[in-house]
């Protein structure tokens, strides 16, 4: 009697396992490339859509998609999860998953993201329960290309000209390329110091660089005392945009 019972239990167990394994084969996952955009609260938004077509014999329970955004030093910048309680069999479910990253958090560890095209690390974990009893977890590392908003930021040679009878006008050319996935709007402020660390003056200009465009302009600084001007010195650059504030960036001239 025990033999018959155990045989039936074995058969049930093996059939169940085979059917679950066979069922997984008929589940289609379609992960779309993540998109990067900017939210109204000026945060970077990574969004991706995943469609799951469950043609298997069982429902998929506790579907959980977690994404961690990491910087180059593997410091976690953001971590968000999307939970779907049940993905019913013979149905297509679309899971929209978003992660928001504060741009200032990104800059806190490395300013490289401002000036150099690099990549962000994404660590994705997909967890689910097959047939109510078998937990499965898939994890993978992805890299997302990152375009710098101030790529190749360059300060050109300072030109001096007469402003009025008492002051001199310094013209500082600036240029960069906006490789970031967002438009850049803000201001650039430059302070000039001579080689004796004496403040000469400051000037500001507004910048408008749509994504993928090159920007070229100049900042005019009025220097009150022309005698303090020297061939060399330093510039302090402050960049203020709706997404981030950066500065002072010290650049030597001369």
């Amino acid at each position: 009697m025990i033999s018959i019972a155990t045989t039936f239990l074995w058969l049930f167990l093996i059939t169940f396992c085979v059917s679950v394994a066979y069922s997984i084969k008929d589940v289609q996952f379609n992960f779309e490339e993540p998109n990067v955009s900017v939210t109204k609260s000026n945060e970077l938004l990574f969004s991706s859509s995943t469609s799951i077509l469950n043609k298997g014999y069982y429902n998929i329970d506790s579907f959980n998609l977690t994404t961690k955004v990491l910087d180059r030093e593997s410091f976690t910048l953001a971590c968000q999860s999307t939970f779907v309680p049940v993905i019913e069999k013979n149905k297509k479910t679309i899971v929209n998953h978003t992660v928001t990253v504060n741009f200032n958090d990104l800059l806190q560890n490395s300013q490289d993201y401002l000036f150099n095209d690099t990549e962000l690390k994404l660590y994705m974990i997909v967890g689910m329960k097959l047939a109510d009893v078998i937990p499965v977890q898939v994890s993978t590392n992805l890299s997302l290309p990152w375009g710098a908003p101030l790529y190749n930021f360059t300060i050109g040679k300072i030109r001096y000209g007469v402003d009025n009878a008492t002051s001199v006008k310094a013209t500082i050319p600036i240029s960069f390329e906006n490789h970031a996935p967002f438009d850049l709007n803000g201001t650039v402020k430059i302070k000039i110091y001579n080689n004796n660390d004496v403040f000469l003056g400051d000037g500001e200009t507004s910048i408008e660089a749509p994504q993928g465009s090159s920007y070229q302009d100049y900042v005019e600084v009025s220097v009150k005392n022309a005698e303090t001007i020297s061939d060399s010195g330093r510039l302090e650059v402050y960049i203020q945009t709706s997404l981030f504030s950066y500065g002072p960036m010290v650049i030597s001239y001369g």
């Binding site: 025990i2 155990t6 085979v18 394994a21 084969k25 078998i134 499965v136 994890s139």
Partner: protein, 151 residues
């Protein structure tokens, strides 16, 4: 001479029957494995070494089953039954890595937690093991009773 001849024929008949029974059982079990292996083909493609693992298991299991059938009517039948149950337990534990299987493919890590399945399988095997041990005790007990009745 005549008694010996009948004894030999009877023994031959019994052994033939045992071998026949073992062959039928092994064929049936192999048939089940053959049908299941068709369903498991997609897993075998995805999991390297899976096919070999299942084949080794089936081979050893069939071998122990055939030995048990041939040894039926002796205490060794139960001994092989117990060995078979222990083999199933140990093989499942080691081959399934304690119930948490981790696989790597195309840069992704897949982790499947089948501890519940493993636990049920071990419990069923333990039941089989306990049954074999109890049957062996019962067999030896009956044999001892028969021996004592002869005296």
């Amino acid at each position: 001479m005549d008694e010996k001849s009948i004894g030999f024929r009877e023994r031959l008949r019994r052994i033939t029957l045992k071998i026949l029974k073992a062959t039928i059982k092994a064929t049936l079990l192999y048939g089940v494995y053959f049908v299941l292996s068709m369903f498991l083909a997609p897993i075998s493609d995805a999991v390297p070494g899976f096919q070999q693992m299942v084949e080794t298991f089936v081979t050893v299991y069939l071998f122990l089953m055939i030995l048990g059938e041939i040894a039926s009517g002796t205490v060794f039948q139960h001994f092989f039954g117990a060995v078979k149950a222990l083999f199933v337990i140990l093989y499942l534990i080691f081959s399934l890595n304690g119930g948490v299987i981790t696989l790597y493919f195309q840069g992704a890590q897949l982790m499947v937690d089948i501890r519940l399945f493993l636990m049920v399988a071990i419990l069923l095997s333990l039941l089989g093991f306990a049954k074999s041990v109890l049957q062996a005790i019962s067999f030896l007990n009956e044999k001892a009773q028969v021996e004592s009745l002869k005296f």
